[in-house]
C-alpha cells in the first residue's frame, strides 16, 4: 500500500475535535454542579454515554461495523442535555437523544442538507414534551425560573446586575417577591463559555467566522429593534449557541463567505423571533432555518468563486 502525499498534516483530527468540544462543554457544567450542588454533570456524562451508545447500536445494525467510542454523538447528546432544563425527566431526554442521533445525525451522513442534531432533538422535546422544557427549577410558589433572565426581561423589563449576568451567579430574590434560581446549565456562564470558545478557535477545532458573524449580527439586530444588545448577548442561550451550536461543522456551510452569511442569517433571525413572537426558544428555530439555507449558501459560494475566477480571465 503506497503512502500518499501530503505526508505532512496539520490541525486537529476529526475524532478528537468532538471530544475536545465535549471537554469544553463540561467546564461550565461542572462549575454549575459544584456551585449549585447539583448532580447535573453526572447526568450530562450519562446522557453523553447514552448518545455514544446509540451510535454504536446504529453502526452495528445499519453499517455492520463495530464502533465503540462515538464522540460526535456523545457531543450531540451532551449539548442537548446542557441546553434543556436540568430537571428534565430521564425518558423524554432519552427519546430526544435517540431522535437526535438516529433521526437527525446518522442517517443524513454525507448529505448536503443536514440539521444540527442537538437542535433537532431540542425541537422534538419542545413538540412532544412542552411541559418538560419550561420546567426550570423548583415548583415552589412565587418562583420565577427561566433558562436565563431573558424572559423576565421580555415581560417585565427586568434586568439583573451585570456581574450576575456575566458570571452566571443567578440567585437570591427579586423585589422580595420572587426567588431566582439558576437555569439551564450550559447557558449560565457566558463569560467562561466565550473564553472556552476562544480557546477552541485557537486550536482550530471550531471556525471563528460563524460565531463572530452570529454574535455581531445578533447584537446589531437586537439594538435596531430597540433592546439592550449587551444584555441580550450575555443572557439567554446566545453565547452558548455561538460557541457550541452554530460551530457544528456538519450543518453549517463550508466556505468562508458561506459561514459569515450563515452567522448573519441565524443571528438576525434569532433577534427577530425573540422580539416579535412568544417563542422563548428562538435559537432552535433560527438555527434550523440556517441549516435549511446552508447547502444553498455553499452552492452559491462555489458558483461565485468560479465567476470571480472567470472574470479575471483576459478576453482573447
Amino acid at each position: 500500500m503506497p503512502m500518499n502525499a501530503p505526508f505532512l498534516r496539520s490541525g486537529p483530527r476529526a475524532a478528537s475535535m468532538a471530544a475536545w468540544t465535549l471537554c469544553a462543554l463540561l467546564v461550565p457544567c461542572t462549575a454549575y454542579s459544584a456551585i449549585y450542588h447539583s448532580p447535573f454533570v453526572f447526568k450530562l456524562l450519562g446522557y453523553a454515554l447514552a448518545g455514544s451508545f446509540a451510535e454504536t447500536l446504529f453502526a452495528l445494525a445499519v453499517q455492520r461495523r463495530r464502533k465503540l467510542v462515538c464522540s460526535g454523538s456523545a457531543l450531540t447528546a451532551a449539548l442537548l442535555a446542557a441546553s434543556a432544563p436540568p430537571a428534565t425527566p430521564f425518558l423524554p431526554m432519552l427519546f430526544a437523544i435517540l431522535v437526535a442521533v438516529w433521526g437527525a445525525r446518522l442517517p443524513w451522513r454525507g448529505a448536503a442538507l443536514r440539521f444540527n442534531a442537538a437542535m433537532a432533538g431540542r425541537f422534538f422535546l419542545m413538540l412532544a414534551y412542552p411541559a418538560a422544557v419550561v420546567a426550570w427549577g423548583t415548583a415552589a410558589p412565587d418562583t420565577i425560573s427561566t433558562a436565563t433572565p431573558q424572559e423576565l426581561y421580555r415581560t417585565d423589563g427586568f434586568m439583573l446586575d451585570w456581574h450576575t449576568v456575566l458570571f452566571g451567579r443567578v440567585g437570591g430574590s427579586w423585589e422580595g417577591l420572587y426567588t431566582l434560581v439558576p437555569g439551564s446549565p450550559g447557558e449560565t456562564w457566558p463569560l467562561a463559555t466565550l473564553l472556552l470558545g476562544g480557546l477552541l478557535c485557537r486550536a482550530g477545532i471550531v471556525p471563528w467566522r460563524t460565531p463572530l458573524a452570529f454574535l455581531l449580527s445578533f447584537g446589531i439586530a437586537t439594538a435596531c429593534l430597540g433592546n439592550n444588545p449587551l444584555f441580550n448577548l450575555f443572557s439567554a442561550a446566545t453565547v452558548f449557541t455561538a460557541v457550541f451550536i452554530v460551530t457544528d461543522p456538519v450543518s453549517t456551510p463550508m466556505g468562508k463567505g458561506g459561514q459569515v452569511a450563515f452567522g448573519i442569517v441565524v443571528g438576525a433571525a434569532n433577534a427577530l423571533i425573540r422580539n416579535y413572537t412568544y417563542y422563548t426558544e428562538a435559537v432552535v428555530y433560527a438555527v434550523l432555518l440556517g441549516n435549511l439555507l446552508a447547502p444553498w449558501l455553499d452552492h452559491a459560494a462555489f458558483a461565485l468563486r468560479g465567476r470571480q475566477l472567470g472574470r479575471r480571465r483576459p478576453e482573447q
Binding site: 502525499a5 501530503p6 490541525g11 475524532a15 451522513r109 456551510p253 463550508m254 468563486r305 465567476r307 475566477l309
Partner: protein
Amino acid sequence: MLRKIKIDWAGLARIQPLEHPFPPPERIFPGIDEIDPQRFPDFLDEIGLVGMGGGGFPASQKLRAAAGAHTLVVNGIECEPGLTIDQSVLLHESLWVAAGAVAAAKAVGATRMVLAVKKDSTLLAELALRYGEFEIVAFSDRYPAGAEKLILEKLEGRRPPPGVRPYQLGYLVQNAVSLRAIGRALIDGIPVVERPLTLAMPSAGFHRNIIVPVGIEIRQVLEAYRLPYDPCIHFLAASGLMMGHEADPETAVEKTTLALLVLPRDAAWREERPCIRCGACNTACPLGLHPYALVERIRKGRTGGDPFRMQMTECFLCGVCSAVCPSDIPLVQQLERGKQCL
C-alpha cells in the same frame, strides 16, 4: 495513534553548508562562446536541462515560449516545507546561479532580474552581498509561497488569471537549481549530471543539503551517511512532504528529486473517514477554492459547468487541503484526477 511528522523549523533557519559526498563529475562539455537567443534553447537540450524545481518540464521549451519576456525571476523559495536546498545553492554556489541567470535573461531578452527568496533577515543580508545586480524580493516562508502563481501575484500586484502561464505575462520564472545547472554548464562544461537535494531524517534529527550524481541508487545515498533506514518502520519520500511520492530505495535519483526524506510510516498513515464538512480545506486553500465541493463533483462525475472548470484550472495541486483535512480525505489525489477531466 497518529503523530505529526516533526520538523525542526528552528534548526532550518541556520544556513547550512552544501556537502559533496560523491566524487565530482568530469568535464565533458565544450561550453559556448556567445549566448544567441536562437541557439540557447538547443544548448539547454544538449545539457539535458529539465525544470529542477520538481516540474520536470524541458527547460528549452519554457525558454522558447518565454522569448521576449521582460523579467527573469530566480525562484529561490523552497518548493516544499522543510527543505533548504534552494537557499543553500543560492548561498554556496552563487557564481553558477548568477551566471545561469544572466545567460537565461540574455537569451530571452529580459532586462530585469528578480531574486525571489523567503523572508529571513540573515539570509537576505548574505544574499545582498552575493547578488548585487538582482532585485531581491522577500516572500512569506509559509508553504506554498514558492508556487509560480503566488510569486507572480506579488510581483504583479494581482493574481494572474486561471490557466495563464507566467510567460504570457512577460515573466520567465526559473528555479535556482535549474539556473545553477546552466551556470555549471557554461563555466565548467558539465551537463546536468548532478542533483542538489535535501537529505533528511527528522526522527534522527538529520538534515543535510548534498549534491549527488543523477542516476545513483537512492540506497547508496542513504548508505553514504549511514542512515538507520528500516523499511518496516520507515518509508522514503522523494521530493518533499507535500507534493512528493513514496520512492523505492532501489530506484535512482532523478533530475527532479528535490529531496529524499526518511519518515516514520505510522506518522504518515491516513485512513479516510467521511467528510464532516468542517470547511478546513476551504479556509486553508491558498487560492480560496472549494476543494471538497470540487472533489464531490469529481466523484459524482459532474465535471461540467464553468465554476467547476475555472476552479479546477486554478488549483495547482499544492496539497494543503489534504494536509489540513481532519478526516484525512485524499483530496489532492482526487483533484489530480479532476485535472484530467478538463
